[in-house]
C-alpha cells in the first residue's frame, strides 16, 4: 500500500508542477497574457548577441529586447516576461501548442514555415546571411576556393542544408562535419579539424571574438543564403500579430525620428512633428486596433530604447555585451542610410 501511495504521490506532484493553464480557443492572446500577468516569450539556447545569460542569471540580447519591448507595451514593465529557452528542434511545437505567446529567436523567414506550420512571421528584425570563416594564413580568399574542404557546421538548422546546396551548385565536394555544440565545433576548427566554419555571419563574428587570436581568422565575403530573422506568432489572432509586428516597427520608427530612451519622455510631452505626436499617443487614436494603452510606444522606448540603441548594446562593439558587428552600410542599417530597416508610417 505504501508503494501505491508513493506512486500516486509522485504522479500528483508531477501533475501539479507540469500542467499550466493554456489558452482556450475563444480568448485572444492579449487577454490571456494580461490575465496571466506576464508574457511568455520563446528564445533559443544562448547565442551571443541575440540572447545570452548575464552573471546574475538574467537574459540579455537583441531578441530578448523585443520580448521586453512587447511586455513593456502591455504591462509597462519590461521584466514581466517569462523567458522560455528552447532548442531549435522543438521551437515551432512549443509555439504552436501555446506554451509560448510568441517566438523571438533567430528563425529564418521561409515560405514553408510561414504557411505550413500554423504559424506566421511578423516582420524582420535582423537580416543575416550564411558565410564562411577561415584562418587567415590558409590562403583562401573566396568560398569557391573551398573545393574538397572539410567544413564544420551545426546541426538542427537550415545551415546544414544551405551548405550542401552551395557545395552541389558549385561542385565543391565539401565534406561537412556536423556538431551539436558550438564550443566543440569551434575547438575542432581552431585545432585544424576542419578548414572552415559555416554559420550565420553574426554567429561567425561573435564566435571569432572569443578565439584566442581573433585577428588570425577572416570571414569570407560570400553570403550563401538569405536569413531574414524575425518574431513569429500563431496564426489566427490578428490583434496579437499586429502587437508584435508594430512593436518592432515602433523600435525602428523611433530611431528614424530620433526618439531614444533618454529623450522619449520629454518628446512625448512636446512632440516635434505630427507623426511623432501620433506615434507617442499625444494625438489621434492609433492604439485602438491594438488594444494597448495610448502611450504604449513611450513605454516601449522608455524600457528598451530604439532599434539603434538595442543594436549598439548587443550587436555593436562598444558595449561589454556587444559582439562587434559593424552596422554602418549593412542591411541592418536604417533605410535612410542605405539599409533595409524600414517601418511603415504611423498614421
Amino acid at each position: 500500500m505504501k508503494k501505491l501511495s508513493l506512486l500516486g504521490l509522485g504522479a500528483g506532484l508531477i501533475a501539479a508542477v507540469a500542467f499550466s493553464a493554456a489558452p482556450a480557443q475563444a480568448e485572444s492572446t492579449l487577454d490571456i497574457v494580461k490575465k496571466r500577468g506576464h508574457l511568455r516569450c520563446q528564445i533559443g539556447t544562448p547565442a551571443p548577441g541575440f540572447y545570452n545569460l548575464k552573471k546574475d542569471g538574467s537574459w540579455v540580447g537583441s531578441d530578448v529586447a523585443v520580448c521586453r519591448a512587447v511586455a513593456a507595451a502591455i504591462f509597462d514593465d519590461p521584466n514581466k516576461v517569462e523567458f522560455q529557452s528552447v532548442t531549435s528542434t522543438v521551437r515551432f511545437t512549443a509555439l504552436a501548442n501555446g506554451e509560448s505567446d510568441f517566438l523571438s529567436r533567430t528563425t529564418t523567414w521561409t515560405l514553408y514555415r510561414d504557411t505550413q506550420l500554423g504559424l506566421t512571421f511578423t516582420t524582420v528584425n535582423f537580416y543575416d546571411g550564411q558565410g564562411f570563416m577561415v584562418p587567415k594564413d590558409s590562403g583562401i580568399n573566396s568560398a569557391l576556393d573551398l573545393k574538397g574542404a572539410t567544413v564544420c557546421v551545426l546541426t538542427g538548422t537550415t545551415t546544414e542544408l544551405n551548405l550542401t546546396d552551395f557545395s552541389r551548385t558549385n561542385k565543391l565536394d565539401i565534406q561537412p562535419v556536423v556538431f551539436e555544440d558550438s564550443n566543440v565545433r569551434n575547438e575542432t576548427y581552431l585545432k585544424g579539424g576542419c578548414d572552415a566554419i559555416t554559420n550565420d555571419k553574426s554567429g561567425l563574428a561573435s564566435n571569432k571574438a572569443g578565439f584566442p587570436d581573433p585577428g588570425a581568422h577572416t570571414i569570407l565575403p560570400e553570403t550563401i543564403s538569405k536569413e531574414p530573422l524575425g518574431p513569429m506568432v500563431r496564426k489566427g489572432d490578428g490583434q496579437w500579430f499586429d502587437i508584435v509586428r508594430w512593436t518592432v516597427f515602433a523600435l525602428v520608427a523611433a530611431e528614424e525620428m530620433g526618439i531614444n530612451q533618454g529623450n522619449v519622455a520629454s518628446l512625448a510631452a512636446n512632440p516635434t512633428s505630427p507623426e511623432m505626436a501620433r506615434m507617442l499617443g499625444k494625438e489621434g487614436d492609433l492604439d485602438k486596433g491594438l488594444g494597448l494603452p495610448k502611450d504604449w510606444v513611450v513605454r516601449v522606448i522608455g524600457a528598451v530604447g530604439n532599434y539603434g540603441e538595442i543594436y549598439g548594446k548587443y550587436m555593436g562593439s562598444k558595449s561589454p555585451d556587444g559582439i562587434g558587428i559593424a552596422r554602418a552600410g549593412s542591411q541592418n542599417d536604417l533605410w535612410t542610410k542605405g539599409g533595409l530597416m524600414y517601418a511603415p508610417p504611423f498614421r
Partner: protein
Amino acid sequence: MAVADKGLSGASAGSSILNDERYRSVFYQIVVFGLIAWTGYYLIANTANNLQSRGMSVGLDFLSGEAGFSIAWSLLEFKPNDSYFWVYLIGITNTLIVSFIAIILTTILGFFVGIMRLSSNWLVSNLAGWYVEILRNTPLLLQIIFWYLGVFSLLPRPKQSLDFGGAELFFLNNRGFYMPKAVPGELFWITVIAILVAIAGAIYLTHRSNRIQEATGEYHSAFWPSLALLIGLPLAVFFASGSPLGFEIPALKGFNFRGGGRIPPAMCALLIALVIYHSSYAGEMVRAGIMSVSHGQTEASYSLGLKPSWTMRLVIIPQAMRAIIPPMISLWMNVVKNSSLAIAIGYPDIVSVFMQTSLNQSGHAIEIVAMVMLFYMTVSLSISAALNVYNKHVQLKER
C-alpha cells in the same frame, strides 16, 4: 488454521466470490487491460486531433523524399539527393559498426583490467582500481567530449600527417586515420567462398577432436590443422583465381587526403571513450567472476596434477565465464545504447543523422522516433535472446 486455509485455496467453502483468487485475478486483469486500452485510445485520439489541427500528416511517405543534406562519414555511400530511408540505413550501419568494434575492444580491455585488479603488484592493482573508480563515477558524455577535444583534436593537420611505417600507406591526422582500401576484383567472390569453407572445416575439425577425446580419452589437438586450413585454403584459391584484389592508396590532394579508407576522429574518439568507459565495468565483472570460483577448485586441479596454465584454462575460466557472460552481454547492450551519445561530437550515428537532422528537416517526429526505437529494440532483443540461449546452455545442471 481456518485463516490459513482461506489464504491458500481461495475456492474453499464459505468464502464469497470476492475472496476467490481466480475471480479476483480475472478482475484485476480486466481493470489493467481497460486502463491500458483507455490510455492508448486517449493518446491516439489526442495525437490525431493535434496533428489535424496543425495540418500535419502521419505516414512513411516522407521516407522516399530527398534528404538534401550531407553526412560526414558513412560505411555505405551517401549522396545529398538520396532518400530519408537511405539516411536511416546509413545511421544504422554507422551505429552498428562503431558498437561492434567497441564491444570487441571493451571485452578484451575489460579482461586486462580485471586481471590487473587482481595483480599482486600493489601499484598495478591500485592503479587499476582508481582507473575503474574514476571512469565509473563521471558522466560518459563528459568523457566523450574529453577524448574528442583533449586528445583527437591535438593531432597534426593533414599536411603534417603522421605516416605510419613510412610507407605512405597509413596516415594519421586530425581529419582521421587513413589507410589503403581494398577494392575487390571480379573473381573475388571465389576467395570469399573459400574463406567460408575454411571456417566450416575448422569448426568440424575441432568438433571431431572433441568427440574423439570424449570417446577414447586421447587428445589430438585440432589447432594446427585448423590454422593451416584457415590460412592455406583462402590463400591458395586467391592466387589460383589470379589475385583479384586491388588497393586504393590515400594521397594528399588539396585540403584533404583522397582515396583509401578513412576513420574520422569523431569515430576514433567515440570508440576510445566507449571502450575505456565500459572496460571499467567489464573489468569489475571479470574480477568478480574469477573471484567467484572457489579456491578449492584451484587446489583440486593442482592435486590432480594439472599445470597452472591448464588449471586456469580448463577449470577456472569455464566456471568464471558462467558469472561473467550474463552481465557482460547486458554491458554490450549498454555499449550499443551509449553509442547514441555520438551526437555530442558529430559522429553521424542513427540518433544524430535520423533523430536530429532528419527530424528537424522533415518534422515527422512520431515516425522517426518510432523507427529509431524499433532499431534499438531489435538490436537489444536479439542480444538478450542470445543471452537467454547461452544461459540455458551453461546453467548448472543440478541433480
